[in-house]
């Protein structure tokens, strides 16, 4: 890996945004905490730079041009600190950040360095160092590997010994030796706008009749949800004018899935760890960072975070939620106002158990020479360190188990300390 330019580090230290997390004293585990842990897998590759923008980086605006979120944008980005600002579609996350209940880890990535969604997702969820077929995920193995008698007891008789999974499909991350408790909404969940768009494109090339049915339906859905648009605007969400059909359904699904996961985890005798997947982040065309598709998706995700906090009730103080995606997107905007598959991105952590209000980043910079393979945000933090840190301090996972069975072959990736309050 290329050495980082010292000047860049100084700049960040001066602005106070780089936290020397590795040197913080390890905080004692808060005794008596009844920990809840939820993993949310964002499939499709979330654009980290559009989610948490490095507005203080001198190369930022030049890099993304009109698509660069800034504090002076028409819909201004939400200031996190002197260097980073949040996408305006995420007011709930801002409030959590301000209440020290959210941590953003930037320039973060799994060990995967290719750009296939399928392989990237498998690796993110399996926790393996290489792309190898796996029928279990890191969350399930983490639960199975916890010592009996602890706050979360894999050998206990209660529901706490099970992994909770939302949705008709148990995400790979939750599969494995520990039994799974799953819940799915009865309604068939709506296919993503992205799937609809891809299909419409295919039909337009191959089958005019099917295309016209799908297109008509989109228009009807748009009319049906005209009221939702108005509500979205009133709530201070992203510009509703560009809202696409089906967005309201996605929003409802995100909140229902995440909100119900929280309801289950909040129960005194409920499961203690859970996972769900929220798809649709593959924004190759007309990304809509400030108003449009990504903005709507981030708004839906923000609603989901709000639903988790509300539904956790008193258990929110014992909660950590990790949101991770398989990889990031290209630093530059592509030829179709979108971004292609990239490398580093953000990982989001929320929950009352966090020592939050921080952006953790060993910022690699955005100059061409600083980009990974001249195109992507360079990864400087291993996502596994973040997750291991949470699993260790929050769930009392053992270092050796974390390095050998949860994230096999990760001895060299130390658990990030000091994430928990």
């Amino acid at each position: 890996m290329t050495l980082h330019a010292p000047s860049r580090r100084e700049m960040l230290l001066a602005s106070g945004t780089l936290f020397a997390w590795a040197h913080l004293p390890r905080l004692a585990y808060a005794e008596g905490r009844d920990p809840r842990f939820l993993a949310i897998i964002l499939r499709g590759a979330l654009d980290g730079l559009a989610t948490v923008a490095p507005v203080g980086d001198p190369d930022w605006v030049a890099l993304r041009g009109d698509n660069a979120l800034t504090l002076g944008s028409k819909v201004p980005a939400l200031k996190l600190n002197d260097f980073f600002a949040l996408n305006p579609a995420m007011p709930n996350l801002l409030h959590m950040y301000q209440a020290n209940e959210a941590i953003i880890v930037h320039a973060c990535a799994t060990p995967y360095r290719e750009r296939s969604h399928f392989d990237g997702q498998d690796l993110l969820e399996s926790g393996l160092p290489k792309v190898t077929p796996s029928d279990s995920g890191w969350l399930n193995r983490a639960l199975s590997g916890l010592a009996p008698g602890g706050p979360v007891d894999p050998k206990g008789s209660g529901k706490g010994s099970r992994v909770f999974a939302v949705g008709p499909v148990t995400p790979l991350v939750a599969r494995g030796p520990a039994p799974i408790l799953s819940w799915a909404p009865q309604q068939i969940m709506p296919a993503s706008d992205d799937t609809m768009a891809r299909l419409l494109d295919l039909y337009q090339h191959r089958d005019a009749k099917l295309a016209s049915v799908l297109d008509d339906n989109s228009k009807l859905t748009a009319i049906e949800h005209a009221g939702d648009m108005a509500n979205g605007m009133a709530n201070g969400m992203a510009n509703g004018a560009a809202k696409k059909p089906g967005a309201a359904q996605v929003r409802a699904y995100f909140s229902e899935a995440a909100g119900n996961a929280a309801k289950f985890l909040a129960q005194p005798d409920g499961p203690r760890v859970g996972a769900l997947a929220l798809d649709g982040w593959d924004t190759h065309v007309n990304e809509g960072i400030a108003s449009g598709r990504l903005s709507q998706l981030l708004g839906s995700l923000d609603d989901a975070l709000g639903a988790i906090k509300t539904n956790m009730g008193p258990a929110w103080k014992d909660t950590v939620v990790v949101l991770a995606t398989e990889f990031g997107r290209t630093a530059h905007i592509n030829g179709t106002d979108g971004t292609d598959h990239g490398t580093a991105t953000v990982a989001l952590l929320v929950g009352g158990a966090l020592k939050g209000g921080r952006v953790i980043a060993d910022w690699p910079g955005l100059k061409a020479a600083n980009l990974y393979e001249n195109r992507d945000l360079k990864p400087t933090t291993d996502l596994r360190a973040v997750i291991k840190g949470v699993l260790k301090d929050h769930l009392h996972a053992d270092d050796r188990v974390l390095a050998q069975s949860v994230f096999p072959g990760s001895d060299g990736v130390k658990p990030m300390a000091g994430l928990l309050a």
Partner: protein
């Protein structure tokens, strides 16, 4: 094997089966027509191995279940009445009670939010269980069939002679196994008799309530004819609408069919079985379609049905329906002609008709003009994604209902329509179902599935769309929503 062989094989598996899977395209590419013909000659073709209760057994189980349910409700009602009486006496009236419960709900609202409904771990009630096991056996047969032609014929005939589980919940599945599967490759006359004398059909089309005005029961109860079964047998099952029969023919045939009934399912021994009940039967000769049928009891009806099976109008009607189901909404008249001719020449031998269907050149038009109807498409998705052991049958049935075609619950005796116009508006819903079901598939390689499922039928655009998908699940959903997979 040739490229044309591969293409014909893929076409055959989609048009006459539930789609290609695994190496099925290559397996039959040398002789696609031969493979379809061989499917007809398989020992046990059309039968399913699952051990399931007979229609009479199922009807008795449902009757017992309902009786027990009724008894429990009655007990609960009595208990409630007693409790109400007691507490009314203690609290000085119902007003005190409602105050107490209001307080309780106030207290509850400050507690942590209630959990959502738990996953349904309890077994469903017995009638639903019966339906689920029948549906499971049916879907498994479709998902695992090598070629699937005979299964498709079963589905075709089952829709042609439909009953509704809304009326005969326990018997809908058994009816298909007993009446349809047993004769799917046999003689149409036998199929027709099995269907019209099946208790499920007799109950569904109200014949169990029909009685001759001059029958013993009709006189005693001042009741008479219900012509539903007679009319639908003409209109839907045999001759076809506007084929020349008159109201007088319908009335006469309905008289003929009086007495075709069943034994009350509450009877422990033979409840739910077919019975010809003489005291319901209209005495005397009947003239149907210009032919006089002497009153020979149950034989009178059998004689009419045997003749109905041989009318040219019936051959024509069935030929049109088969052509429309398998080949095109408006099938080529030459194909219909061939099918009708075989039907007549072979005295309604359905295996010969099926052979004519797959040997006629018209059936191999490369244009894929048919939109797979919902259930067939779902079965194809399950089959290709290998999810028959993963997706619960209840979810499959829910998906089918979402697409407007709940299994064994057609809204009317004419069954589900067989045209693109009827189903194309459901395409957006199919995307949702495709996305969910594809998400459940485990360890699939979408490009591999594209090759095994569509092979040479896949267009370049479809290949690109699948290859560029965001997730494996999306890739699979796009694959099963591609025009090449939707159409056959």
């Amino acid at each position: 094997m040739t490229a044309q062989g591969q293409e014909a094989a893929a076409l055959a598996l989609h048009r006459f089966g539930f789609g290609a899977v695994g190496d099925s395209i290559s397996a039959i590419a040398n002789d696609p027509r031969g493979a379809l013909l061989a499917d007809l000659d398989r020992p046990g073709a059309g039968q399913i191995a699952a051990v399931l209760p007979s229609s009479a057994d199922a009807a008795r189980q449902v009757a017992d279940f309902r009786a027990e349910q009724q008894a429990q409700q009655k007990l609960a009602q009595r208990a409630k009445q007693e409790a109400d009486a007691k507490s009314a006496a203690m609290a000085g009236g119902p007003a005190g009670m409602s105050n107490a419960s209001a307080k309780m709900s106030d207290a509850a609202s400050t507690a942590p939010p209630a959990p959502p409904p738990k996953p349904a771990n309890q077994p469903p009630p017995l009638p639903q269980q019966l339906l689920l096991s029948e549906a499971k056996a049916r879907f498994d047969a479709a998902a695992t069939a090598d070629v699937g032609f005979v299964e498709r014929l079963v589905w075709f005939w089952s829709n042609h002679f439909c009953v509704s589980a809304d009326k005969v919940v326990g018997m809908a599945g058994p009816f298909e196994r007993e009446a349809i599967r047993s004769h799917v490759l046999g003689r149409f006359a036998d199929l027709l008799l099995a269907v019209e004398s099946h208790p499920a059909m007799l109950f569904y089309l109200d014949n169990v309530q029909s009685m001759g005005a001059d029958s013993v029961a009709g006189i005693n109860r001042d009741k008479g004819l219900n012509e539903n079964l007679a009319r639908e047998t003409f209109e839907l099952h045999t001759l076809g609408v506007r084929s020349g029969y008159t109201q007088a023919d319908v009335t006469s045939f309905a008289n003929v069919l009086t007495g075709w009934s069943w034994i009350d399912p509450a009877e422990p021994e033979h409840g739910g079985e077919f019975a010809f009940i003489k005291r319901l039967h209209q005495p005397g000769d009947q003239v149907v379609l210009g032919k006089r049928y002497p009153d020979t009891g149950v034989e009178q009806g059998r004689a009419v049905l045997a003749d109905l099976a041989r009318y040219p109008a019936t051959a024509q009607h069935i030929a049109e329906q088969i052509g429309s189901h398998f080949v095109a909404d408006t099938p080529p008249p030459s194909l219909v002609g061939k099918l009708a001719k075989t039907f007549q020449d072979s005295d309604g031998n359905l295996k010969e008709v099926a052979k004519t269907l797959v040997t006629a050149d018209e059936s191999w038009a490369p244009q894929r003009q048919k939109l797979k109807p919902p259930a067939e498409w779902i079965a194809g998705v399950i089959r290709l994604s290998g999810t028959q052991a993963i997706i619960p049958i209840g979810r499959i049935m829910y998906a089918q209902a979402t697409l407007g075609a709940p299994l064994w619950r057609p809204p009317a005796p004419n069954g589900w329509p067989d045209t693109e116009a009827a189903w194309i508006d459901g395409i957006p819903h199919r995307v949702d179902i495709a996305s969910e079901f594809a998400g459940r598939a485990q360890g699939v390689d979408p490009l591999l599935l594209l090759n095994s499922g569509l092979g040479p039928l896949a267009s370049r655009e479809t290949r690109d769309t699948v290859a560029r998908a965001e997730t494996r699940a999306q890739a699979l959903a796009l694959l099963v929503m591609s025009p090449e997979f939707l159409r056959r």
